[in-house]
């Protein structure tokens, strides 16, 4: 089929889809008047019953906690999938990346210095965002991505992805696995120390304190490790491919 023909068919379909969307949106509640009973209920019981001031965290880790478990394992499966796809590709390459060779990763000095300066503050911000997930906007998912960014800044600052015997990619995989296992362990803790899976079995503390809301903070630490590990594994593999390609081009 020609491009023109394909675009013409798409234009017809898109017009129909636009009409359907307009029809669907017309049936939604008017903007600003949503009457969500479940949301209202959770908003009113998050502080009295769970001592968590961040209501979204209460939904994510508690009322929809089981979904979040699945969500974590989606990320885990995606990282494993990327590893499987790209490592397979690398094993087909005739030139394997030399694991012991020091390869500077940043070509520009200013990039390297700015990255070195930002890595520390980014790591502190990540830890802050993860630990305050039950109090203020943030949590393990957001903090985990910031943590991954902090470690990528270290990479940009000129460290190598495989530096001697220390192989950060193994540490990333370990972090990912520990995070995923930690979430399940805490969830099973609910089964042992309380009545049901994922039940909040730690002391709830005083609302608004850093150490409050029971299992939320350990759960978000596990999520943060898992997310940071998964993001780094995925980006590390993709960067490795880029390095392989640029080596080939250079030769």
């Amino acid at each position: 089929m020609t491009r023109g023909g394909r675009l013409a068919i798409f234009a017809v379909g898109a017009t129909g889809l636009a009409a359907l969307l307009a029809w669907g949106f017309a049936g939604l509640p008017d903007f600003g008047t949503f009457d969500g009973r479940m949301g209202e209920l959770i908003s009113s019981i998050a502080v009295p019953e769970r001592h968590a001031t961040n209501v979204v965290t209460a939904v994510t880790l508690d009322f929809r906690g089981f979904d979040t478990l699945g969500e974590e394992f989606i990320l885990f499966a995606a990282a494993v999938g990327v590893l499987a796809l790209l490592r397979l590709a690398r094993s087909e390459e005739t030139v394997a990346a030399d694991p012991d060779e020091m390869t500077p990763t940043a070509g520009s000095r200013s990039v390297a210095r700015v990255s070195a300066a930002l890595a520390g503050p980014a790591a502190v911000l990540a830890i802050y965002v993860i630990l305050h997930g039950h109090l203020t906007p943030g949590g393990g998912f957001q903090g985990g991505v910031v943590l991954a960014a902090a470690l990528l800044l270290v990479y940009l600052a000129g460290a190598t992805i495989r530096h001697g015997r220390i192989k950060p990619i193994n540490a990333m995989e370990l972090g990912e696995g520990v995070g995923a296992a930690g979430f399940v362990a805490i969830a099973i803790g609910g089964l042992i120390f309380a009545a049901s899976f994922l039940e909040n079995f730690l002391p709830l503390g005083v609302s608004g304190d850093l150490l409050s809301a029971g299992t939320y903070m350990p759960l978000y630490i596990a999520v943060g490790l898992e997310v940071a590990g998964a993001v780094l594994v995925i980006l590390g593999e993709l960067l490795d491919q880029a390095l392989l390609t640029s080596e080939e081009d250079g030769e």
Binding site: L21, F25, M38, L238
Partner: protein, 114 residues
Amino acid sequence: MTALAYAVAGWLLLVGLAGIVRSRNLIQLVVCLSVCQSSTYVLLLAIGFRDGAAAPIRSGIPAGAELVDPVVQAMTLTDVVVEATVTALLLALAVRAHGRFGTLDPDELAPMRG
């Protein structure tokens, strides 16, 4: 004016789809897909909005104050994670396709298969 958020969601979906259909590069195609997916964030957050309500954080606001819907916000969080995973896998597949066929143009990939 009140329909603006819904209109933006619909526009993002359609413009992303148009980008996918017109795309001549697999990487660009993946980015177009994330434009489509971002329409769902706008839609979910727009649905949960309430006039005059506070963000769903119960600190520094009077007890019993009305909050915007926290459930759709948590759904948006899930949505973002799913988008990240889909993007990662598609980019890995694009790398594989480039390694196998030496091109990123979807139009050139198709006849090679057939």
